[in-house]
Symmetry: C2
Subunit: 721 residues, 2 copies
């Protein structure tokens, strides 16, 4: 595997960024062309009221490339935290990220111990995988579903009694057809979207925003459920081997999710080597079961062992068969992984990716069909405490370490499959956030270059689902198929539109193939949604539209905000009509207002600060009674009456309300004024002292937030104790 | 009852204010003499850097005494909310207190409906009571304890079996002696402290701060327990009459506390008439029981009915007798009420108060002794579901409405007794807050002129205690006596010191009398603390020192803060060494720093605002990568490079930490500079939009709070949607 570092200057251009490349600069997108033009026009009209003096400090801190050095007490002096790279540009060193407070530093240190030291933006890795590595990395999710897919199929059939179990073979055959069709369909997506073809992007590009969001919603549910189901199945594989652990299923699963979260917060990337061994080992273990099993079956002339008699709980109706079919279809989850990851292959990317997908589907078909057939031949039925794969292992390898090997690799691959969701979910949120469909914070890369917010969101949601369902795989599966096949269907349907629009060579054939894939996926989708509606699929049916609505509302908010804040060409000269429209210094008209409760060092400092700005200044005192107002005015005279004082008697003893309304009244009389309210704030060092004070400053700031054109300035006075 | 309004100008002088008069201006105490002098000296040196222009607005809003008028839509225009009283002074009308936000106005309206419209500071009432009104108002707490005192005594004795019940008579006699001694002792306190003689003030004046605080802590516990015990006993009186209500004892009690809180938040003052009837009715009801009961006993020659045999649960030891004695002593709680309320009497205040106290003690002795005797004669023993007083009522009035009358008046007087705590607890907190021993917020009078914060504190604490003890009177009583008698003892002991110091005529006799009172109270205190230590009195024994410690810590904090903020004479001329020492405008040296994340309307407005101040200005951009830093600098050039820009590359993508450390570094290089950080803030109208934004402004403000000399200015941009 080669690793390419993308360094300082434009190795990737903007077009690339619309693809699947993630960058820490996504939080600060460049200006659009119109905004650029407006910016220059505004800049031309900028007049400063007077020449600003030279700066009284050296903004580069007089640093010239010296490395930061800690002081004797282990803290870095703030000046030491910055180095000069080029004129006008400082680089913050790592200590500059530590918070100033002692509690904050302790917390940071604990985080570093747990998750490792922060990683520089320059360390974003773009991995290029060769096929033999890509295969295990990308197929762990898909192949792992073989561990629970056949069981899901048989579990439904057995409800109609042992006699119905024979239906597993034709259903499996149907599923194999489906796998091949969807596989071929995705095979075509890869060369069409060589920059990566997530369902969100393909559906959004070709079908419009809402289908794209619906595919994303389906995928998000899929990822959450992948974590829940894989962890549940992994834990189940462990408890099948060690039944003593059964009572702690739920805490065990939560622990696994927490470990996955911690590992991913550390920024453990899709390090190929981690995946290679367990995936191949799992394939080997299952193949061994198949070979030995079929050899034994051949020994008895492929005569099926008759299953233990199970009484029918339901009649064998069409609905039951459909339910069994759509349950078995969960074996296909993860098939889309390759198409998302095309840029991660070595050149020629799409060709390698397509080959890998072919191998994957072939392996899937082999393992899935083989397992269903062997289960039928050995006459196995699902038992509460043990997975079917585990039973098969015990039957096939009554002695020896092979059974343990099978269970261990199963557990491992299921956990790795959960990990793929940890890779893909935050990336999906990132792409959606870039388009303004999810909160902006999902653009932020944490100090380990992981999308921490997305990881936490995934873990919390998956953990809640896991606990709510008591850690039982089978109960989660009904929720599962719907979301996955929604994304499949929309992605394939998007490809149909794509071919119609682009009409490359052989587009008819390609369109037909994708149409078949889309149709089959849609059939499974509808089957799953209808057949399992009451079992829990209704949750997905309800959740997807709600999520789409939510994403659209979020997008609308960001769009409105962007319009409101976008730079516009300046209006013709003259003072601005409203205080908040001012973009030029010469348009700002000041009135400084200082609320003074009593005369002490804090308020005198606020008054001095206000007067030093050299703008018209008004002091305001709110008195609870006439007596107090007179007393205060008298003190003001004693001070020298240096500033205009207005006392407001508030006979109902409120302070914030009358002050806010007074400022609003001032604003009403002269809307073009910018009112600067200068509030002295006593900063206490100890947290337990805070309840002793009424936090007037905070409440005042909150009350003034809503007022237009009111700037709030906090002048702090720090008290040592 | 006459009501005297204390209006605008000094009808009460400062000396009075140290007494028991409450005033809304207590939150803003006048300056001390030294601070006044320092203020003038500072004022003399005040030089403004340039003449401030005339104010661009009329600070009196051009109002000339017009009354506020609502607009067509029912909201008052802000200008209409103020009226001019004298030059330079506005008076805020009631609408000016309504919050600006819609939710806030709705809440205000709900509060008004519940608690009534706000009351003006001019409405502080000073009630003057004549004796016949004062007696019920002040004695409801004392007389109500007769409803549970005898029962508390007998309940302990019966633990040693029916035989021990005979001891109730000599113990009652002892208690009567104690009542008379303490009564005489308090009788002397009244003329000595005609402005009101709360235990906190008397003990603090004469014994020092810690004993004063200990008395206050005891009283505070007493008030909390008065509410809990009285409500419990009142509810018990109800459930004795209507046993069906027994299961809802706890919710019923909590409801009663909530109603008391609501009533007191409305500012229902000690409206005498409310108290007159129930108190006298209760006295009449109990007297009727006594008269009829003793008449029947006389009919059988005062031969005691032998009580039902009760097996002894414990041996009849000294400890049991002491416990019984101290349990009975709770009948004396509330005896201090008159001495607190001397200024509320008609002139000559102290003489009328003293007479009233005499009547009260006489009534207490009559009722208490009579009840204990009658319980003995009728051979009653405590039963779980019914109070002794209720049993006595049933025996005395087997038929007719008298029994119901007795229970009803009992319940009523117990609730009124709880109400006295609602009067006294917040006042005590007010006096302590005035001395800096409790949080300042207890000085604030709510918009109904009630001490809302103190009322809420009392209700919450009493409610918690009531619920924690499951609403059972008898379990709370052990906690009760200790706090009360601690306050009695310290108050009487304080009087002993007082007489020794002031030596008026007959001071020897007075000193002796108070010494007797103090000694007897101390004996009960020790008895109660020792005998009931393990039953729950340990809570009080532990709580009082902890509370005293807490009060002292609070006082220390306020004292430190006051010293730190006190005005001091200016140091010799020259620029101040540290930014936060500046009290004169000519000493302030500015550097304006504008953090800019991206160029949009919000940040350009912040830059324009900064430049318009005409002070040296520096813009800072934090970039996650070199690429982004270059891109931003290029945009800055396109704008015109009007201000000095410093970009800081933060390779670990944090924003707040590096910015805070950079400002700290600037401050380190020039500590005398005042750094004004101008932060653009986008104000969103809808609350649900807030999670979509990272609240960088708030986090930045929090990080900068700790830095010395850093002023934070928030320039808002309001977004309509």
């Amino acid at each position: 595997m080669k690793v390419r570092r993308v360094g300082a200057a434009g190795e990737h251009d903007d077009a690339d960024e619309r693809g699947t490349i993630v960058t820490p600069s996504a939080e600060l997108p460049p200006l659009g062309i119109e905004e650029r033009a407006a910016l220059s026009r505004i800049g031309e009209r900028w007049r400063e009221p007077r020449d600003p003096d030279d700066l009284p400090v050296d903004p580069t801190l007089g640093r010239s490339g010296r490395a930061p050095r800690p002081t004797r007490f282990g803290r870095f002096a703030p000046i030491e935290m910055f180095t000069v790279e080029e004129p006008g540009e400082l680089v913050a060193s790592e200590p500059a990220h530590l918070p100033g407070s002692r509690a904050g530093r302790l917390l940071s240190r604990a985080r570093r111990t747990l998750f490792g030291p922060p990683l520089s933006s320059a360390s974003v890795l773009y991995e290029r995988m060769r096929k033999l590595v890509a295969l295990p990395v990308l197929s762990s999710d898909l192949l792992s579903s073989v561990a629970y897919g056949p069981e899901a199929l048989v579990s439904v059939l057995v409800l109609a009694g042992s006699a119905a179990l024979g239906l597993s073979l034709p259903l499996a055959a149907l599923l194999v057809v489906l796998m091949i069709a969807v596989g071929l369909s995705y095979r075509q997506t890869i060369p069409a979207y060589p920059h990566g073809a997530g369902s969100y992007i393909v559906a959004g590009d070709n079908l419009g925003r809402t289908p794209g969001l619906a595919a994303a919603a389906g995928l998000m549910l899929d990822y959450v459920l992948t974590v829940s189901v894989s962890v549940a199945a992994g834990v189940h594989a462990v408890t099948s081997a060690v039944p003593g652990l059964t009572p702690v299923t739920v805490p065990l699963g939560v622990l696994v999710i927490a470990v996955l979260l911690a590992g991913n917060l550390r920024g453990v990337r899709t390090a190929g080597n981690l995946f290679v061994l367990p995936t191949y080992a799992f394939v080997v273990a299952v193949l061994a079961v198949l070979v030995v099993g079929y050899a034994r079956a051949a020994g008895r002339g492929f005569a099926p062992v008759s299953p233990p008699p199970v009484p029918a709980a339901e009649g064998l109706g069409l609905l039951l068969v459909l339910r069994a079919f759509s349950s078995g279809a969960v074996s296909m989850t993860g098939i889309e992984a390759v198409s998302n990851a095309v840029p991660a292959f070595r050149p020629t990317e799409w060709r390698n990716a397509r080959t890998t997908l072919g191998w994957m589907v072939a392996m899937l078909v082999t393992l899935f069909a083989g397992l269903v057939g062997l289960i039928h031949l050995d006459g196995l039925v699902p038992r509460p405490g043990e997975t079917l794969l585990s039973q098969l292992g015990r039957v096939t390898f009554p002695t020896g370490p092979w059974y343990a090997f099978l269970q261990a690799t199963t557990a491992l691959i299921l956990l790795l499959a959960a990990n793929t969701a940890f890779n893909d979910f935050p990336r999906l949120l990132f792409f959606m956030a870039r388009d303004g469909h999810t909160p902006r914070r999902f653009l932020h890369m944490g100090d380990r270059l992981a999308f921490s917010n997305g990881l936490v969101a995934l873990s919390v949601t998956a953990g809640v689902v896991f606990v709510a369902f008591g850690g039982h795989t089978e109960r989660l599966i009904p929720l599962y198929a719907v979301g996955v096949f929604l994304a499949f269907t929309l992605s394939q349907a998007g490809m149909v539109v794509h071919w119609r629009r682009h009409r490359g060579p052989g587009w008819h054939r390609r369109l037909a193939l994708n149409a078949v894939g889309a149709t089959l996926s849609a059939l499974v989708l509808i089957t799953a949604a209808v057949a399992k509606f009451s079992e829990g699929a209704w949750v997905v049916v309800v959740a997807v539209p709600l999520l789409v609505l939510l994403f659209r509302r979020i997008h609308r908010h960001y769009a409105t905000l962007h319009r409101a804040l976008a730079l516009q060409p300046p209006t013709p000269s003259g003072p601005a009509a409203s205080a908040e429209r001012e973009e030029l210094p010469q348009e700002v008209r000041h009135l400084v207002v200082v609320p003074v409760a009593r005369l002490n060092r804090a308020s005198l400092r606020a008054l001095a600060y206000a007067a030093s700005l050299g703008q018209p200044t008004l002091a305001v005192h709110i008195a609870p009674e006439e007596v107090e107002a007179d007393r205060f005015r008298e003190q003001w005279q004693a001070w020298g009456d240096h500033l205009r004082l207005e006392t407001i008697v508030s006979p109902y003893r409120a302070v914030i309300g009358p002050l806010a309304h007074y400022l609003e009244a001032l604003h009403t009389t002269r809307p073009e004024l910018t009112l600067t309210v200068i509030v002295p704030e006593v900063v206490l060092r100890r947290r337990w002292h805070r309840p002793l004070h009424s936090r007037v400053e905070q409440r005042l700031r909150a009350a003034l937030r809503a007022l237009p054109g009111v700037v709030v300035t906090t002048v702090p006075v720090h008290v040592a104790e």
